[in-house]
Symmetry: D2
Subunit: 383 residues, 4 copies
């Protein structure tokens, strides 16, 4: 079988999720080509080596520029924070590598546009990893919409709520700094919702938004502090330069009216990525914390017989599930990454496109930028 | 016991809900004064008489102006559509009657301001019937907030979703005409959410909103068609002049960021009035379709032990419940009206104020107007 | 309109629920005859008079034997504890009165059989008030079964769980004494489940059961202590002579296998009366604490599209609902009693039978007795 | 690091789940010894080789007797149907191998007793894989019980419901034949519930049970038909010799009263393994289809503030979770097997015992046998 050599850039949280996906995809699924875990790249040699050994990456390298230029690398998996997305993805694409890029796309719309144009010019497969599109329940949502079961869509209500920084003593990690993260939950979380909305409802033509920063000043993190539970360096503090919450209303090109609500201050919500879709024939509800379920209401069910139906999307007939376990045996968070690898390898092997890709990333960044502009100016902004 | 003579104006849906409340309040509760169902008023004599006989109203009258001036009337219950609220309430207050007014307040902010000023000048008890404030579960929410169990509030997420006009053949009833209804779900449904948000979170200082009308033209209703399932007159159509959905973002004076989403096109939602409140110490969830329940998450519960707790607000310790049934025996929609009468009679008997009242109505109309202005201009509007 | 004079025996919890029903039935529904609240009967004159005045009973009487023999009484409503059911019901039926009897039927099967035989001989309408049959959601369950939507029924899983006596300091009220109550939750709660199972699934032919008494000795109640929150008389205690929990398995005549689980020690459950029905074509779930909802799964929905659908049984097409409120405006516990009165008055006016009646009560007592026998002997018992 | 050579016997559904666990345990967790996937064993060479290659088993072997006697094998993982459990486990233990045994224990109590006695005599680590004990939410349940948060336990209500054979055309696979499966859902599903009940509540001292077979005759399966969706061989049929459903009541040694309800005919239930535990201080609810959640009610929460709290057991403080993903990122079915391997390797490396083990298996088989005896005789059976 054809082998595809993969280089991964980044070995933190996303490095782990991606590495697992490259491995599991080939044991649980029949792939048209075999991904080889060729080289792992990171700045700190010590943890990088441990990472590579643990996950079976054959080699390590601390300079990502060298990696993306290696002749024996077919795929570059970009699993670093977003301030590096542009540089790595552009270099990889220019070197003719297929790019598997973690979301969000980039720090700015301008970066995103250049990434797309380079990738298209290079003719490589480019993929933006909005992993939630590949949840079987979300795929079922799309199927129901495609089949007309929802009809004309009137509303999208997306919310992505977390609470991991609501404690004022949580340190000023890179996520809270505009130069490293671009924005706060608007880019981090609303971007996921925007991707799902574009996948399920369609294009957005105007938005209005409000953002808020509840804690303006935070202690500096200690060196090497972990992402989600970082220690602090003591009494020094720094300024939070991204929003803590971003609420946005949106008008869709097809006439639907929608909302996007993202927060890191929604006490009690851990990874509460939800959407509601209401249409002329039916409605859909999804909640990532119960990601194996899709709620579906059909007006076909007739007067007095309608209700939201909780479909456990673990049947062999649901996308990807036949390769996992029998009905009712649920899958988890990391499985979405496996599905992404499955489809990406398929695209590379068959020289086809995959979605979402950099073009989707540009569209998404345009909407994100419009939201931030609206929040800043108080004006509705046309996308 | 002192008797309080009540006159009701209106004998449709709200006339029924109010009549029941005047009766049930005095059998289930110990009131400080006895409401007497003195006179019912409506334009069409035939159905009015049947209504009065059924509910035990002693007399009938077709001219509301005569009713509000009767010496033997203490309380005027305004249960007509909102285009008459201003005139009836002003006349009643001027005549020295205590006013029990169904929501929404009025067609316009200007009307509301006059109503308040007249009622205050007259020194009467004035009440605006946002009945949901008197749901035991909502009262519990307020208690938890007052006790500090929620802490600093970061977010309000209110949604009031229905679907009763999503069928294009639903006729052009008065609800869909701006001159009779003022606005669509923004005034009808968001007003309820705004009242709850003001009760639970606080004042709003700026908003941005988007509205949408999905069906621009509808068949005219047949004469005397019922409110919720009206027949149509045939082939003639008319223009819908209110919005079908209204989404609004809001900044609260205390720094919270909130949303209000109202629609009559949310397929599958019947009377889905929900809110979520997230604060520094805890969070609350409410859904009117399960109105006996309040979900409460407390950070006091400690690491790994926190979760949304479904409190069935049917204990004797919950407001109003001791007068109904044992724990777990739920109450329904009409009970909120009974609670409103209980508190209103108490206010009248004890010459105290009650909330929400016309001052709340003015504040609410100000927010509603700001939302409509934002939707029309695309600008964020300071309230 | 024909008038039907009603005498009520009992003025505690059930007296209140029934009185409300006699009143509300005639305001919310169009009845074929008018129930007149003629006379209320109880032993203690003082509270009886207050009760009668509050609910509008025209007269009072402390001797139930006089009441049931009055010529001007058409209907006797038996709302006393079950140790009096037999005597009152037999006397009333012998006197030619129609009998509206609160559940459970009687203290023993022998009593029940005599009650039935007298009532049949007298040719009166006899009704046993298992009010939950008249929940719109339960009626919908029956309709779905009748239409074949569930198919051949494989399983009934009934549970009726409460926790009101789990505190050892809860006093030894009449509910806990075999001579007054017959049995504990087996008779009180399982009887409700048995009635629903017979209504929805069919006859039971054999059972095995286990019961348990967790607290053997309890403080004596103070004089006149309320049912659900009684004070105690001090240090004196007495022996609990009924079970605290009763679990029973049952074989149905149609081949279904079922369970009935009743407890007053299910911490956190207040009035948790639930059932699950699984059949060859579909399944149903019901929970009284969310009594406006029925969950329905249909195999017709096809592979990958099936799920439990939460039907909010508040549409005009659902039984009884058209007389209450619009969709999504829920009803509560007491409404079931109103529905019972509506159907009972209809039966009396039209000289038809109503179910459940004393024949159902006999069948139910037979099953209850079989369960107690099985618990005592350790043998499966044929009903 | 010490290496532990593993031999797996069986390469169907459980072979897959176990193989994955042996791999994932060593990448996601820090183990005290390194499991080496040494040899995979099965009867059919072709699929066995593909299996071994896919999962990284170094060698294959078709004779399990040879495998268990290999000097270089430390651990025998028994992942075959239960009719082989006894022979393989006994031979492995006699050869001094540590045994990782898939549930249920064996075909009969006698077999189980011999397995235990051999394993104890051999001094090997023996483990019975009731994987659900290692769900983080279930571990949390145990912690809450151990800390006294539930108090004296009154009730266990266990149900394990599936529907995979409710279609009469489902073929007569080995699961439906007594000689191969021992029993039906009683052994397959109730055994899981019994294990959880023994883990969480304690020992059982008597039971009564009823079983039922709804479909007596089924088409024979085609050669090599898959377990959960097997094709049939045509028109030939055979007799179902196990029950289709088994309901059992149980008295616990500590006084609790419980129930166990297992069925393969519960339409709409896929892998619905649930329990409810009610105690003097609190209560717990679990549902495997939402296995990341535990519902907990605490009486400490005070009057009017109590409710079932949905704890998302995905915090770093929950057992095993720190090695997976951040809060709110759920895990799935296969993770329980990984946890089992983690703890088993720990037991082998540290020469400690692990639970559940063969002694638990014997206790469980005793209860299962008692249930079957009760179902057959109609008598309550002391365990």
């Amino acid at each position: 079988m054809t082998e595809l050599n993969v280089a991964i850039i980044g070995h933190q949280f996303m490095g782990k999720a991606h590495s697992n996906a490259w491995r599991q995809a080939q044991t649980f699924f029949d792939l048209p080509a075999k991904p080889v875990l060729k080289v792992a790249c990171g700045r700190r040699e010590e943890p990088l080596k441990a990472f590579a050994e643990n996950w079976g990456w054959e080699e390590t390298e601390t300079d990502w520029r060298k990696v993306v230029e290696r002749d024996d690398v077919d795929i570059v998996d970009v699993a670093v924070p977003q301030n590096l997305h542009h540089d790595v993805a552009v270099a990889a694409a220019k070197a003719g590598k297929h790019v598997f890029l973690e979301k969000p796309m980039s720090l700015s719309l301008a970066e995103a546009e250049e990434m797309l144009s380079v990738a298209e010019a290079a003719g490589v497969v480019h993929y933006l990893n909005h992993n939630y599109r590949r949840t079987p329940a979300v795929r079922l949502a799309r199927q129901l919409i495609d089949e007309g079961e929802i009809g004309r869509i009137f509303h999208w209500r997306g919310a992505y709520l977390q609470d991991w920084i609501s404690d004022p003593s949580f340190p000023l990690t890179w996520h809270l700094q505009a130069d490293k993260a671009g924005s706060g939950p608007h880019g981090d979380l609303n971007s996921h919702s925007i991707d799902l909305a574009r996948y399920l409802v369609g294009e957005i033509d105007s938005v209005c938004a409000m953002t808020r920063t509840f804690i303006e000043e935070r202690p500096l993190p200690s060196e090497g502090a972990a992402t989600f539970k970082g220690g602090t360096s003591g009494t020094e503090t720094g300024k939070v330069t991204v929003e803590d919450a971003a609420f946005m209303l949106a008008s869709f090109a097809n006439g639907a009216l929608g909302s996007f609500e993202a927060s890191r201050f929604a006490t009690g919500r851990k990874n509460y990525n939800t959407f509601e879709i209401y249409g002329s024939n039916g409605a859909l509800l999804f909640n990532l914390e119960r990601m194996n379920e899709l709620e579906f209401l059909s007006k076909k069910d007739g007067d007095g017989r309608q209700g939201f139906r909780t479909i456990l999307a673990t049947e062999a007939s649901h996308d990807y599930i036949a390769n996992w376990w029998p009905p009712g045996h649920i899958i988890g968070y990391e499985h979405e990454f496996v599905h992404a690898v499955v489809d990406f390898v398929d695209a590379v092997a068959n020289k086809t496109a995959i979605a979402p890709n950099f073009a989707d990333g540009v569209a998404e960044m345009r909407i994100i930028a419009a939201g931030l502009e609206s929040a800043a100016t108080g004006q509705r902004v046309t996308v």
